[in-house]
């Protein structure tokens, strides 16, 4: 990454990113502070929390909110990269089937994994790895259907995404049908996503993978800008198109696959966040990628907060909240495109 990466942000964009950083920190604190359990966070600093309160804060809320931040940033970042690569405003890991590919991969390992004799340590990684594999298969399929992404026609990609979502749905439905009840428990809330039950040991390896991949992805920013001119021009400006495509495939597969393996399918974040960020400050990717990460994590933290407080002590699947926000925005987006 160039030193001048940050200096090349226009001053308006610098302000927006600063505001987004504050928004993120605010969301983080709000997420830690609130929940169905009554907790005065000032007591945390005075060390006056009793055992249960400490348990709720440190072992339930902290890991949950932090994972929400990572998952939100992953989905938003992947959406921004796919929209840039495909030069298509409707690209989103959910719409084009990447999330359901990951879910199918995870479903395989949940239902069939017990049949395969795997060493205990490997088993913790089996779930996220099979989810990543599922994502990779989907993106490779998309690449074949669109002829190496050359045919970036909107219709093609949406149709391909519908087909892949349907296929994955069939696969997951079949696996649900043949699974016995204990496994079914693992599968039943996949389609709507949930941050329930997240604990530290579950998320540490995944957070590390997401963090490293995210930092690597930020280096694509300039190339994503250049590819907006079209593949011929980008090639003439020194961008290795094929390498860029493969890198974005790998990056999205990892961050979306890992996220989906832990929390199920959560839609619309990858679609909505990059567009909102573009509306605020513009389309150049060194601004867009960072702003998407910040906005996406804030959004997800708040969506999770709503999901776990709105009908407390029960909870809603978080995917319901993101859809409630995202679907109207999606309609507005289509309306806007029609106007242009």
């Amino acid at each position: 990454m160039n030193k001048s990466y940050f200096f090349n942000l226009k001053s308006k964009q610098k302000i927006i990113i600063l505001v987004l950083i504050f928004t993120f920190l605010f969301s983080l604190i709000t997420g830690f502070w609130n929940g169905s359990y009554d907790l005065e966070i000032i007591k945390f600093f005075k060390n006056e929390l009793d055992n249960i309160q400490q348990f709720v804060l440190k072992k339930i809320r902290f890991p949950r909110v932090i994972l929400a931040a990572f998952v939100g940033s992953s989905l938003a970042l992947s959406g921004a990269c796919l929209q840039g690569l495909f030069r298509n405003p409707l690209a989103d890991p959910g719409l084009i089937g990447v999330s359901s590919g990951a879910a199918l991969g995870a479903a395989f390992s949940i239902v069939l994994g017990s049949e395969i004799i795997v060493g205990g340590y490997l088993k913790t990684f089996l779930l996220p790895l099979s989810a990543i594999l599922g994502s990779v298969v989907v993106i490779v399929l998309l690449s074949i259907i669109t002829n190496g992404f050359k045919n970036s026609n909107i219709t093609y990609i949406i149709l391909a995404g519908i087909a892949i979502n349907s296929l994955a749905g069939v696969g997951i439905g079949f696996l649900t049908y043949i699974s016995d009840d204990a496994e079914l428990r693992g599968l039943s809330f996949w389609s709507m996503g949930s941050f329930e039950g997240i604990s530290w040991n579950l998320i540490i390896p995944s957070i590390i993978m997401i963090l490293i991949t995210t930092l690597w992805t930020l280096t694509f920013a300039r190339k994503l800008d250049i590819i907006q001119l079209g593949e011929n021009d980008a090639h003439r400006l020194g961008v290795n198109i094929r390498k860029l495509k493969i890198n974005i495939i790998i990056s999205s597969s990892i961050i979306v696959g890992v996220s989906t393996s832990l929390v199920g399918m959560i839609g619309f974040v990858g679609l909505v966040v990059p567009h909102l960020v573009r509306l605020l400050g513009g389309s150049n990717h060194n601004y867009l990628l960072i702003a998407s990460i910040l906005f996406g994590s804030s959004l997800m933290i708040i969506a999770d907060l709503i999901s776990r407080t709105i009908i407390q002590p029960a909870q809603l699947p978080v995917g319901l909240i993101t859809s409630a926000i995202g679907a109207p925005f999606f309609l507005w987006l289509i309306y806007n495109m029609k106007r242009k």
């Binding site: 359990y37 348990f55 072992k59 949930s194 329930e196 776990r308 002590p313 029960a314």
Partner: protein, 290 residues
């Protein structure tokens, strides 16, 4: 079987649990039964049955008997519980069955130090009595529970066992229908609460060849030719509905349809395997026997 053998039987079960299984499965008395969160309709029913309902602070969505349960805070769906949500009710005890979930949440509740008990369920007469005893024991009310069982359940349980022994009904073909939308008729297969209920009657489940709740075709229903059809849906218990069902061509071609042998009963009473299950099984067995 007389009362003393019962108690010995149960005592052995309790000892067995205490010495060999993890604390989650034990029926040992809990330290503090004052505030209980329940995930499972039959457990809620049993607490009311044992007059312990004022200790309940939270219930899941399947706990809807008796009517008073409407006033209690809901913790949501039993397979998607929220650990923080449950903890916010400040329970001293959490009771549930083995379909509680997600597993990570169950782990968290365990980790928090709250007493979590998963009541194992055998879906037969002894299993129901064991369940009631176990819950009573956990709540520290063993003697009271024994008395209540003696006064209210034991006779019926014995009567049902006699009917089973007579084995009159063993060749009777029964199916249990969970849902009857035109597009999918979902029936009880093997390893379901519906199958266990039919066994409790001493009869035969015509669809025990497959596992779980699955949808079947009209042709296979006609082929298997049930003598009785059990429907765990209290609200269809009106004559006009029976007429509608027996008009249905599919059912007309079966023994049950020709004779109008449709039995409607409250779903939770039939399939919850709580106190009402023995009563409803007895009631249905008597109807069939006539």
């Amino acid at each position: 079987m007389n009362n003393r053998k019962y108690y010995l039987y149960l005592f052995l079960l309790l000892i067995f649990n205490w010495s060999t299984s993890q604390k989650n499965n034990s029926c040992v008395k809990t330290i503090n039964p004052s505030k209980v969160v329940v995930a499972g309709g039959s457990i809620t029913e049993i607490l009311y049955f044992l007059n312990l309902e004022e200790k309940i602070v939270g219930i899941d969505v399947t706990s809807n008997f008796p009517e008073e349960t409407k006033e209690i805070q809901s913790i949501g769906y039993v397979r998607n519980l929220s650990s923080e949500g449950i903890l916010s009710l400040e329970p001293t005890l959490v009771l549930g069955e083995d379909d509680m979930g997600p597993p990570t949440t169950i782990n968290q509740i365990n980790e928090s130090g709250i007493d979590l008990r998963i009541i194992s369920e055998s879906q037969n007469i002894d299993g129901i009595i064991y369940k009631i005893m176990c819950i009573g024991s956990i709540m520290g009310k063993e003697y009271e529970t024994e008395n209540i069982i003696n006064n209210q359940i034991l006779n019926q349980a014995n009567e049902l066992k006699n009917i089973q022994k007579k084995n009159n009904l063993k060749d009777l073909n029964i199916m249990l229908v969970l849902s009857m939308q035109p597009s999918s008729i979902i029936v009880a297969g093997n390893n379901t609460s519906g199958n266990s209920f039919i066994k409790m009657l001493g009869a035969k489940n015509i669809f025990d060849s497959f596992e779980g709740w699955k949808s079947v075709s009209k042709e296979s229903i006609i082929k298997k030719n049930p003598d009785y059809i059990l429907i765990p849906e209290k609200n269809l218990h009106k004559n006009s509905e029976v007429e509608k069902l027996s008009e249905d061509l599919m059912f007309k071609n079966t023994n049950a349809g020709k004779k109008g042998n449709f039995i409607f009963e409250d779903g939770m009473a039939m399939l919850g395997f709580g106190p009402r299950t023995i009563l409803s099984a007895l009631k249905i067995a008597k109807i069939i026997n006539e």
